[in-house]
């Protein structure tokens, strides 16, 4: 008897009666699997349908926000300056790049106002870079949580993206101060920057989820990523003007397809689009002095396509391994 009430149960010991089809043994016509199915039991390691999964994620939206805020607070809790580092880190980055690329190497030659150009690039690219890097660790770093409680795992990379977004908001205040200080007129046109950040966020979420799955099953990825993103930084014209390079570089002029590829690069698209919307002088400079081959509308199209493709592909890619996270 496999249950503790062998004598009391009414279905009891009367095996022979035909009136009781459920009472069967393994090996007879109904297998345990069929028995389980009859009572609506589901394979415990199965992943939910996409629709149900999306619904579960939506129900956890408060968790995503609370988790992100808690992470943000805990991140600097060991250092004396605490949350100040959220501002200090990007500013120090800007300082280093300004020293080397602005003053020593003088890449700023033809550009109007190098500092706002640089700050926009470093902040926006850093947003993407950090989203992807911490996204790759979002599953591996929370294994104990994954093994303790059941919740849709996609909430973890989503929360990480929100963490980075919260950090960006603070940096954007600094960015706006710098932009205005350099004489950029404040106007409604600056509101166009909001959808740029929105599209960049969509892209980051998608890319972060993709890396989350890769990083969850192969920790080598997280070791390799910093090198990849650093190469990407130099390819994306963050600290020098890529349109400027395209007009001056002999190699890029003879290999037009390389230029086209570089222009499609999402790292470049979001950084450049941010500059176009925020820095009027820079947009004017690019469109009038650099052969006009970088129209703002072209950037918008790329930005939109990248955001949608990355978000959908990233989510699906992550979802398809849902039942395997935290195993081992």
């Amino acid at each position: 008897m496999s249950h503790p009430e062998p004598t009391g149960a009414s279905g009891g010991e009367s095996v022979g009666t035909l009136a009781e089809p459920p009472r069967m043994n393994l090996g007879s016509s109904e297998s345990l699997a069929a028995y389980a199915a009859r009572f609506g039991l589901k394979q415990s390691s199965a992943r939910p349908s996409l629709r149900k999964y999306l619904q579960e994620v939506w129900e956890r939206r408060h968790f995503i926000w609370a988790f992100a805020s808690a992470k943000n607070i805990a991140m600097y809790s060991d250092s004396r300056l605490g949350q100040v580092w959220q501002l200090l880190t990007p500013l120090l980055n800007v300082g280093v790049y300004f020293l080397i690329f602005g003053l020593l190497l003088n890449t700023s030659r033809d550009l109007p106002d190098f500092l706002p150009f640089l700050v926009t690039g470093v902040f926006m690219f850093g947003f993407m870079q950090r989203s992807i890097q911490s996204g790759s660790k979002s599953v591996g770093d929370n294994l104990s949580l994954i093994r303790a409680l059941h919740f849709p795992r996609a909430t973890l990379p989503l929360a990480i993206a929100v963490v980075e977004f919260q950090q960006l908001l603070l940096s954007l205040v600094v960015l706006m101060i710098i932009v205005v200080a350099f004489g950029e007129p404040i106007g409604l046109h600056m509101l166009m920057f909001v959808p740029v950040v929105g599209l960049q966020l969509m892209f980051n979420v998608g890319a972060g989820m993709m890396m989350a799955r890769l990083g969850a099953f192969n920790r080598d990825i997280t070791q390799l990523l910093p090198f990849v993103t650093r190469t990407w930084l130099y390819l994306s014209g963050v600290i020098f003007s890529l349109p400027g390079l395209m007009t001056s570089s002999h190699f890029l002029k003879t290999h037009a397809w390389v230029s086209e590829l570089l222009k499609m690069n999402p790292g470049y698209v979001y950084v450049e689009l941010s500059r176009h919307t925020l820095l009027g002088k820079y947009r004017h400079h690019v469109q009038h002095h650099l052969a006009g081959n970088h129209s703002t509308s072209q950037l918008w199209i790329y930005a939109l396509i990248w955001a949608v493709v990355a978000l959908v592909a990233g989510f699906m890619f992550f979802y398809r391994a849902e039942e395997r996270y935290g195993r081992g």
Partner: protein, 264 residues
């Protein structure tokens, strides 16, 4: 051994009760990676080039053909010596280990509560409670209502709820985790040694909570080495030996047989 059967018996199905967990001819094989090899960069490189598997990888056949049915409202104790597959079984029911053969079927989502589940160690106990509740799918409103109940249940020393969880003793951490997981009604709650570190007072409280969870029509699985805990809380005991069912029946019968066998 009136009620208990020996291993390899066919599974009897009780048609009068609702099953909540069905384990069907389950085999679990998992891989273990250790720090084998010489452990330096050169040997790791040559391994990659020669396309060898990681040197220390071994396959462990932890569950060897296990079948049983658990019904709604049952508290099932799982006993056995170290390495008999108890924790593996619970992980398989929770859906954390894929079956090599056979299958595990459950109604609703099982929740596993183990000793190593530290939740978020850098965050305060308070935040862990809130985040844990939200992660389990409660609304912020429900979380607020349950919060004090969870904290009271965990019975931490005053003030500790505001400290990061890494500063907790193992007993305190286990109590808080159990309190969080028990805040919600689970269809299947799997407890792996999580009560072992609690003191007598906490054990009484958690026993009462397990009782309540069972009444709410779920099932509870309990792995414990303290046999008196199993005897007090469970109404059915499964004895695993080397990944196979040794005995399955009411607590007194199985526990007595187990004690007799292990003291030889």
């Amino acid at each position: 051994m009136v009620n208990a059967h020996l291993a390899q018996n066919p599974v009897d199905i009780d048609p009068t009760r609702d099953p909540i967990v069905v384990v069907d001819g389950l085999h679990i094989v998992y891989r273990v990676y250790g720090a084998g090899g010489k452990g330096n960069a050169a040997s790791a490189m040559s391994r990659v080039i020669k396309r060898q598997k990681r040197p220390s990888m071994t396959e462990v056949h932890a569950i060897k053909g296990l079948s049983f049915v658990a019904y709604r409202g049952e508290a099932v104790g799982v006993i056995g010596t170290n390495g008999s597959g108890k924790s593996t079984l619970l992980q398989a029911i929770a859906g954390l280990l894929p079956p090599a053969r056979g299958g595990v079927y459950t109604d609703g989502q099982p929740s596993l509560l183990g000793v190593n589940a530290a939740l978020m160690k850098d965050l305060t106990g308070e935040r862990n409670v809130v985040l844990g509740c939200l992660a389990m799918g409660m609304t912020p409103q429900e979380t607020k209502e349950k919060y004090q109940e969870v904290v009271d249940f965990a019975g931490l020393k005053p003030g500790f709820i505001n400290y990061p969880m890494r500063t907790y003793s193992s007993g305190m951490g286990a109590r808080l985790r159990f309190a969080i997981a028990a805040a919600k009604t689970h269809d299947v709650l799997l407890i792996d040694e999580a009560l072992a570190t609690g003191d007598a007072k906490f054990r009484t409280k958690s026993k009462r909570r397990i009782e309540e969870l069972r009444k709410e029509a779920g099932a509870v699985f309990l792995v414990a080495h303290q046999l008196d805990v199993v005897r007090e809380t469970c109404d059915r005991v499964i004895w695993l030996d080397d990944g196979q069912m040794r005995m399955d029946g009411d607590p007194d019968t199985v526990l007595d047989a187990y004690i007799e066998a292990t003291q030889k």
